[in-house]
Symmetry: C2
Subunit: 282 residues, 2 copies
Amino acid sequence: MPRKNLPLVSPPAPPAVEASVPLPPFEQGNHDKGRKTRGEGAIWRQIAAALRNPIQLGEWQPGARLPIELELAAHFRVNRHTVRRALADLARDGLIATTQGRGTFITTGEKVRYQLDGQDPISDAVWPGLTTLSSSLVRDRKVEAGLKMGALLGLPTIHGVHEIELRLTADDVPLALATIRLARDAFPRFLDVLRREGSLQKALASYGYDHFHPAKTTVAARQADDRECGLLKIKPPSLLTVVEAVANHVGPAGSVAPVFVLQTALCTTRVDLHVVHASPRP
Amino acid sequence: MPRKNLPLVSPPAPPAVEASVPLPPFEQGNHDKGRKTRGEGAIWRQIAAALRNPIQLGEWQPGARLPIELELAAHFRVNRHTVRRALADLARDGLIATTQGRGTFITTGEKVRYQLDGQDPISDAVWPGLTTLSSSLVRDRKVEAGLKMGALLGLPTIHGVHEIELRLTADDVPLALATIRLARDAFPRFLDVLRREGSLQKALASYGYDHFHPAKTTVAARQADDRECGLLKIKPPSLLTVVEAVANHVGPAGSVAPVFVLQTALCTTRVDLHVVHASPRP
DNA sequence: ACATATTTGTTCGTATGTATC
DNA sequence: GGATACATACGAACAAATATG
């Protein structure tokens, strides 16, 4: 049963490339006599650096398997914990991926492009070239707007909001989690409408909102929590790049009013964030 | 010798607030009999979650000190390693900061605003409201343009570029590292000129380049390496938000040509990144 | 389908190095 | 210099997920 190949992004599980990589030689600095830290810095940092080089130079094929931890420990003449510390460092940078029971593999560097174009925050153009993008509903909550959210949406202090989370996936590879928050008063039965219309854009249009413009866009980086890791099929500690935009509705007279807040948490190892600026002013 | 207070951003070394925080109660899930993992997930995750709550809710004062690791271990009835694993998780998120020999402290959440306004990538407006910003030269190298850099700058395959790195600091707190890369041919003795003029803007203007516009701006998140940690007075594993922009010079006839690449590595725990979009199209 | 081996994940214990007070 | 407290490293054991027969 051949698993289909993923054209755009690398799958969470690497393909069956099982060639083990040739390890770089390793001199343990000036090994005074026994062990412990030497002048060169911590041993696990030296090991991480020794492994980082051939990976970043592309000497090892993506999907290639590293020797098991005990072999690495024997090669570097250290305890298995020390190797694991170094591997954790590489995994944080997305250079390798470890799976319990399977092993440690070199990851690929291919990334999908996500674009902030300064226009409609939910238009399809934010994923240029990605034809297989699909979204699925993963959470739907009714919450009370906090101080911050109320201020962003221009709501009174106590106000109910929809909080709907979608997972964006291409070729079975999750790319991002998008959360939209909007006032329940203004969008009654929004979830039903969203299910019926099939896309945020159409659902909003059916309420009469058809032209948006982003304001107050912020970008932040943070770690994914356990829930997000499960949804995105990644493992902690993985990074997310979070783009939060307040969408103003643009009325016919040019009036603007905040309608919803869209928060997109991009899986950093799989997505590149691009900002497209307007043309220069004359 | 009273150390001066830092008005805008929190100092790397917390003030002398030594009130130890009251620890949350902790029930070890369903402790089968001895130890090892229980159904609730890894113990260090439970401890991290238990500590994360009061910090994120703001119940503990910024600068407050946590009990020492051995006390935490005794409180949670686990080994010191298990506590350290949980603390490392919080430190990655920037919630706490540990210093060898001193202790573990709650960090503050204040952040400085850095703004991508879609106009001149080196104008002072990208740090709105920050009056005490100063920059210092931390590195100057002459390198050969790689394939990627050559393509960005529109250079032939082999070409020398200046690579100049500045550290941006406000109130003795490092905020970011900015690296500018430009062709050596077009900017002879650039470093001397930069030193004489005192700012990138003035130095570039003295070569006749006075009006820029960003193109191909990308945003990425990654870990700071050891060198960057030293310059920014942070500790690994800390996150950087890297903004890379190609600056086009805008000529009198509206012609554009790439002149330099500016890469700004923002210290994620101290800086908020905002993207300002142009006005909506009519 | 099931048992077994392999491989990573977690925890405890112990010891020592090193920065800070 | 001494005490305190975090940083690093080793060893052992077991748990959990995966692969293999």
